[in-house]
């Protein structure tokens, strides 16, 4: 080993002595996945909500969808699951004056999901596989309160 390499090794050792570095390999398995074979049996325009629930089980979330002025609404159903593994690294440093930690987690990636949209008669319109982040509608501020006369406060 060269003198430069030994010096670099010694410097790294001294620098990391007060710190704690841990690596971790982590696997996360969440919920039952939706299989494409189950989806293949569903027919947009024909399959009713009851049939879809029987094939796929209970969704993760149910959302209001396509609300009209008469108060009729469809529904959007989301299933999501995860089976992912990856390495993570955590470095912690602390003494009386300075402390801190840095971590990297490769497992917290995108989560697979499937969404089904139903019309006002609760008949399947369409379905899509993707990630939960892509399929979920963006969060919106609640509408302001309106009284019976429709006047806003």
């Amino acid at each position: 080993m060269s003198r430069a390499a030994r010096s670099l090794g010694a410097a790294l050792l001294v620098a990391t002595l007060p710190a704690c570095i841990t690596g971790s390999y982590e696997r996360v398995r969440l919920q039952e996945p939706v299989r494409e074979t189950d989806l293949a049996g569903l027919t947009p325009g024909q399959s009713a909500l009851g049939e879809c629930l029987q094939r796929l089980g209970a969704p993760w979330r149910v959302l209001e969808y396509d609300v009209d002025v008469d108060g009729n609404s469809g529904a959007a159903l989301l299933w999501t699951w995860r089976d992912a593994a990856g390495w993570g690294l955590k470095a912690e440093y602390g003494d009386e004056s300075v402390s801190g930690s840095v971590s990297y987690d490769a497992v917290a990636a995108e989560q697979p999901a499937c969404m089904l949209w139903f019309d006002h008669h609760l008949v399947l319109q369409r379905w899509r596989l993707g990630t939960a982040g892509d399929l979920m509608p963006r969060r919106q501020r609640p509408a302001p309160f309106a009284d019976d006369a429709g006047a806003r406060p």
Partner: protein
């Protein structure tokens, strides 16, 4: 030197198991008494208690009931750890019309399928599920 390193690794090694349950598992027997077109929201609440969530769907509504079981396993090997987290839910969504009569319901009952495992182990194989499903059926829950 290698022997010393191995001994040190053994001294630093350890493992931990953790289990977390949220809500009581949902009873299949209770679900089988629900009849679309007949059962009302009040009857459902009478049997299952307060729902976790109620979603308004125009004039209709949907009730969610769920229970979650998470099993965690961690193997500590000094500066490298191996961890596994397995979570499954019992989950039921019930859809009611504008008169609060049940239209449809969908159920997924799988808290009993949760397993302790290490990251490289394969779990949730069909035969594994079949054995656990049969055990739950036998227990009547």
């Amino acid at each position: 030197m290698l022997h010393r390193a191995s001994l040190l690794l053994l001294l630093l090694a350890g493992c931990a198991f953790g289990r977390q349950d949220v809500n009581e598992p949902i009873e299949d027997a209770a679900l089988r008494t629900f009849a679309p077109g007949k059962t009302t929201a009040a009857e459902v609440v009478g049997k299952l208690g307060a729902p976790t969530e109620v979603v308004q769907l125009g004039r209709r509504s949907a009730y969610r009931y769920d229970a979650t079981r998470t099993k965690s396993t961690i193997l500590f090997l000094g500066i490298v750890n191996f961890a596994n987290q397995d979570a499954r839910q019992d989950r039921v969504w019930l859809f009611f019309d504008d008169k609060d009569v049940l239209l449809h319901y969908g159920a997924t009952l799988s808290t009993h399928r949760t397993q302790y495992a290490l990251p490289w182990e394969d779990v949730h194989e069909p035969e594994d599920h079949a054995a656990r499903d049969a055990a739950r059926k036998e227990s009547g829950r």
